[in-house]
Symmetry: C2
Subunit: 452 residues, 2 copies
């Protein structure tokens, strides 16, 4: 069978909360001013209380509300594919399965959390959301979700991306979201940059500050984040839970589970249900793939750091290369975050998962091999996971082992075709983080507390 | 249930050939020089004999080869969706089902025929294919298919589209096809325009002439067409055959079947299995939707006309507004063809289907309603079918009837977002065909023979 489907009645009915199974509990976020743990009520000005409760919940299973399920069924369960063509091309004894999260309306895994976030906000009484977006995957997913639940949305999009990726902006507008280039003249945080230079290229840090300021100062408005936080990762576990059921129907269990990781949400989504199995004694390897130019897991320390450049968030316990990090303009825009989700960082520290870094050119080479065997064109972010799949499939061949590989195919690359054009025409380059720069960034983190 | 799935084992195993059931046989194509019917061997310089046999086959069912089936399973069976959100929005008693053909790697129904055409060519010994493409849907689908079967491909893309739609061109190149703007300097047919003006905007007529000349004059090379011909329409019937099975599993049968029609292949794909039922006495209405600016079925006579502007093809019996027709630059690039497939024209003449024309603005209004209810963003071509769905759903409401509506959602509009931007910002206009121009075009057709 090429595609392993799941019927609607077999859909998982609850999200999996890995906090219930962690061998070592997650250290709390800290108030940067006092060094004391953040309490839920401190977050109440930016998030609705029902999501804050999810953020700190110790419950293993959180039921998916009926109305959320109805929306998820617009594209879920997503198909699990056996990559026969890729296997043949690599002449590998490995059996490769990819979970196609590119079938959602915005084309990635992001709506898995955008939908419940919009739902819980509407339930709470929120009328309007704000968010930031870099490359635009998150902004378009949240626009889709807000449209489904009748919420207004304002998206602060990093100006350089706003200008380079007009299709993403249009997609947000098709679903009714209002998208402005950041820094904008609409907030104090943005205005100070905007007035100096109306063409300021912007940064995710500035955009976050603008979106939070807007949420805090506007009526009935909350802020929404597309990765990093515990509840976001939990919403994504539907990917791995579905994949487990799909593999079960054909009597398979993976030897290796692979995902790319920027903030960590799609990786957590595919892998946390398997991390749970591993905690309970099952043998399975789990690999998170990141860009060599943004090596948070492979090079960054485990430290308390700010979530944003502007130092407006609580301190989060995570693998980080420092919030002052300025990422290289690689095409995998979703993997350029300076930190890693606290939950992913925690399981990495505890040795439950491993991390690997890939260079831009090898990821596009892998993506092109995938497109030319399995047909579907992957997003540049997804190409990182595919590079790892190919590496593992080749290893299985060398070792003569029939390994089962599961990968999260986190999104399609239809709106990123310009990046493939750059690769095909030889204009694409590897970008690395110079050793001295990395050392400087890590040194800067020395003054921050270490999570216990 | 939101999505009605079909398992691989329940896939249709044969295409449906409507020629076996036509109340009146299809008139043969004619040699324009002699007025005599074209014989299969006359087509042998441009098409492989196995496809020519399909073109003229009287067999009702043509088995789908195992290797073709394996490739179709990369994205088929496609899901059939119940459009609950759209129904609620329209407050209609109608039950609306859409067949999502946007899930293929190139994003439309086109690979349903690109895959078998590439397969039969490879079986025949063809090493290389040529084709033309306008907006690029067909070129990218054939590039995907040729990649799967190891064939070389050269695509002549109308220059104005080549410049306006860089993403489509890149998509072709990702799958290994070579795409050049037409008129090119590579053929006699193109050179005469190209040398006068290297920035000549081109036309589908010139691009067809270039692709045919290349096929006829190159070693081991054949030509491939993405619509209009009998075998192309037959390959698309897998859409309707799947939809019939899917509706059967939930005990539904459509009152109305709707598709948009440019050359006619996606419309034939969804509708011909239902036209067969109708021929055998079942009550069902079948509607083909076209642009008001290219009204081949609603305004054009049933006549023998050339398939291309350059008058290089046989004369085909079809509804046409004349091969000299210069279409308005509407965004539904796939619906700008001057003629209609002979098989679709035949069943229209015989009263088995009906045709309706829609203006550009009302189609985008419909597409936006769809995107804001069902989430998925439709192609501008598909918007024509959705305009008809909304019209019929409103009528069902007025009449208080629980009608079942089936529509072919022929492709996604992710690469056409610029068109939605134009609509949203009020820059889009209706373009109509002036009455005098239409009369002139129809008058030009008076000298051509009439099919019997």
């Amino acid at each position: 069978m090429k595609k392993i489907l799941l019927s609607e009645k077999d859909m998982p009915r609850a999200w999996y909360n890995i906090q219930a199974d962690l061998p070592n509990p997650l250290p709390p976020p800290l108030n940067p001013a006092t060094g004391e743990p953040i309490t839920p009520d401190m977050l109440a000005s930016i998030f609705p209380m029902n999501l804050i409760e999810q953020e700190v919940s110790p419950e293993r299973w959180v039921e998916i509300p009926e109305e959320v399920m109805e929306k998820l069924l617009m594209w879920r369960p997503t198909p699990l594919y056996r990559a026969y063509n890729l296997e043949r091309f690599l002449n590998t004894p490995a059996r490769i399965y990819f979970k196609n999260e590119g079938t959602s309306p915005p084309g990635s895994h992001k709506p898995n959390t955008a939908i419940p976030q919009a739902y819980y906000n509407r339930e709470f009484g929120t009328k309007r959301l704000t968010t930031e977006t870099g490359a635009g995957q998150w902004g378009s997913a949240l626009s889709f979700a807000c449209n489904q639940f009748g919420l207004e949305l304002k998206i602060y999009m990093v100006r350089v991306s706003y200008n380079q990726k007009p299709y993403r902006k249009i997609m947000m507008e098709v679903w009714g979201g209002k998208c402005v280039p950041s820094p904008s003249g609409d907030t104090n945080a943005g205005r100070k940059y905007y007035e100096q230079n109306p063409e300021h290229p912007g940064s995710l840090g500035i955009a976050i500050s603008e979106a939070i300021e807007d949420a805090v100062t506007s009526k009935d408005t909350k802020y929404s984040l597309g990765s990093v936080l515990n509840h976001v990762l939990m919403h994504q576990t539907i990917i791995g839970l579905e994949a487990q059921k799909q593999l079960e129907t054909i009597g398979e269990y993976p030897d290796i589970v692979i995902g790319c990781a920027g903030g960590g949400s799609n990786f957590a989504g595919i892998s946390f249900p398997f991390v749970r199995d591993k905690i309970h004694g099952r043998e399975v390897r789990i690999v998170a793939c990141e860009p060599a130019s943004c090596p948070t897991m492979t090079k960054g320390p485990y430290v308390y750091d700010f979530g944003d450049t502007a130092e407006t968030t609580p301190l989060l316990p995570m693998h980080s290369i420092g919030h002052a990090f300025v990422p290289a303009p690689i095409h995998a825009g979703g993997l350029r975050y300076h930190g890693m989700a606290p939950l992913v960082s925690r399981v990495l520290v505890d040795g439950l998962i491993e991390a690997r870094a890939y260079n831009q050119l090898e990821t596009f080479e892998a993506g092109l091999i995938f497109a030319r065997t399995e047909g579907f064109i992957p997003a540049p972010e997804t190409d990182h996971a595919i590079a790892c799949v190919i590496e593992e499939a080749k290893r299985a061949k060398e070792e003569g082992k029939e390994r089962v590989i599961l990968v999260n195919w986190s999104g399609h690359g239809i709106i990123d075709l310009a990046a493939y054009d750059a690769y095909l025409s030889g204009r694409l380059e590897d970008s690395t983080l110079p050793k001295e720069e990395l050392e400087r960034l890590i040194k800067n983190l020395e003054k921050f507390p270490r999570p216990r």
